[in-house]
Amino acid sequence: MNQSVFSSSKVQKKSEFVGSLRHTFEIMEGKSKMSSAENAIEIENLMVSYHHKPVLWDIQLSLPAGQIIGIIGPNGSGKTTLLKSIMGLLPLDSGTVRFFGKPIKEVRGRLSYVPQRESVDWDFPANVRDVVLMGRYRKDNLFKRLSKEDHRIANEAIEKVGLTDLAKRQIAQLSGGQQQRVFIARALAQQADIYLMDEPFVGVDAATEDAILKLLAEMRDEGKTVIIVHHDLQTAYSTFDWVVLLRTRLIASGPKSEVFTAKNLQNAYGGKLSILSRLGDILSEEEIELGKKEPS
């Protein structure tokens, strides 16, 4: 097992080297446009441990702006930890995270974090609008009243997720999918540039999942960056533009067609054959696309 991890990091280093070389050439040729060259998030030497056990090991990662990015890996691979470390919610052992080249303190207003739905008590005495309005809370307006503009933005967000009729309903009386939509609306109300979402499709019905996916695509088309922690490998390929494959270490990060290789998946999921066999199905379904190069 050690060997496989070792060799994977070797491969990764090599591909990183090639990637950076290609990038250098692009810059030299003046091909690289400003928008595509600008990374939304750059992570360097990130290490996080829990009770002296490493959860994330030496993560080196650049995530492009204007894409829907999936963070994928087996259970306990550090996906949620990575998201929380990016948001500065966990103490880091080492490493830096920069957003558009700046530290989090300078760009907090441009970030939106959507925690797992299970992380809050939905029996809380609040209605849909109350929760979405929290998306307008800022560190510096916590002691002031929200403005009319704040209310308008919140109502707009509620409309976008199709909950206008339920705006005054207590959140305890919503279905799982509706609760998730409340969280998405709160994120929309934040009017951020980078959205970090932790498992937004868990416990969500198919119709809601489609609606959320459509919204995410709209957001991407407006130039927003959406980063999603996702555990379901089967839907990952169709959901994301860019994929980060994680297993404590970074296995691979890149356009989905480059990341979804048998070798990468083997490295991430190891001997979990049931998953791998399902993967075989996915890969064969996507064969045609895999052969092509991702249009840039």
């Binding site: 500065g88 907090r108 925690p115 005495p125 209605n127 207590q170 119709a207």
Partner: protein
């Protein structure tokens, strides 16, 4: 007139504890309220020893310090020593409380506080301890102390409403906005310490937990929004104080205890008939909505 003073004091205790209790209950920290109400004892004794005056503001500072200290100790045992949270609560506050009791008995000759009074309080004595300045009677001292505390805590909560709302509902999200959740936690905890000290002379260290937890818990069962929960808590606190007083007269019993009993009766009624979780709701309400109605 004495009855009025007692009822007024009881109402203010219920209100002061109730508005803080709302957030304690929502943050699932009810046992922390219990811990604080006991842990302030050594702070009071030491402050009393230094100042020699039972109405000295030093008492509040001493109590607040120890109240916050016990929450820090609980956090420490829980997080750093990986102790179970209920075990860390149990260990911490009994440690503080027992030290307080030992101090009281050691210094019994010099300190005019006895353990029985600390545990049970006596709201019936409130009208007799009066503020008298230059022959002018300003009314019961306790009523003033609790009234001013209610005003101060009420204003602080009004000022801190959004922050407490946000951090109580979703602390991770609050942290992602750069809001310091620890400072909000300790703001609440020090307010609870203050509320406990000013209340315990009247209702005792044990029943003060009842005032912290029972009315907000009953109100929670009915409320769809936070402001509803706060208003209902205030109403239920008022009813507890009034009805509790007359029940005590009727039964010739401890007034603070009957006030708590009335609060509990309200809780039992709420528990049975509230429209959300009520045990009897099936028989009372017709189904109006289904919580998982497909969209």
């Amino acid at each position: 007139m004495d009855a009025l003073y007692i009822i007024l004091t009881g109402t203010l205790v219920a209100w002061l504890c109730g508005i803080l209790g709302v957030f304690i209950v929502l943050r699932k920290l009810s046992m922390l309220g219990d811990a604080i109400s006991h842990a302030v004892l050594p702070g009071i004794v030491i402050a009393y020893l230094i100042s020699g005056d039972r109405s000295s503001p030093l008492l509040f500072i001493g109590a607040a310090l120890f109240g916050v200290a016990v929450t820090v100790l609980i956090e420490l045992l829980n997080k750093k020593a990986s102790m179970q949270s209920d075990a860390s609560v149990g260990t911490s506050f009994t440690l503080f409380f027992s030290v307080g009791i030992v101090l009281v008995s050691l210094l019994a000759s010099r300190v005019d506080i006895d353990a029985d009074c600390v545990l049970h309080g006596e709201i019936g004595l409130v009208p007799f301890d009066r503020i008298n300045r230059g022959g002018v009677d300003f009314g019961p001292r306790q009523l003033w102390v609790i009234g001013i505390s209610f005003l101060v805590v009420g204003l602080v909560l009004l000022w801190a409403y959004k922050g407490l709302y946000l951090t109580s509902f979703n602390s991770e999200f609050a942290a992602s906005l750069g809001v310091g959740i620890t400072s909000w936690h300790y703001l609440l905890m020090s307010s609870v310490s203050l509320a406990t000290v000013v209340s315990f002379e009247a209702v005792g260290a044990i029943l003060v937990v009842g005032f912290l937890v029972i009315p907000p818990a009953s109100a929670w069962l009915w409320s769809r929004r936070l402001n509803e929960m706060i208003i209902l808590t205030l109403i239920m606190g008022f009813i507890s104080a009034v009805a509790g007083y007359f029940l005590a007269v009727l039964l010739d019993s401890s007034i603070a205890a009957t006030m708590c009993v009335v609060a509990l009766i309200q809780f039992i009624i709420s528990f049975l008939v509230n429209p959300r979780h009520g045990v009897l709701k099936k028989w009372i309400y017709k189904p109006q909505y289904s919580p998982h109605k497909p969209m």
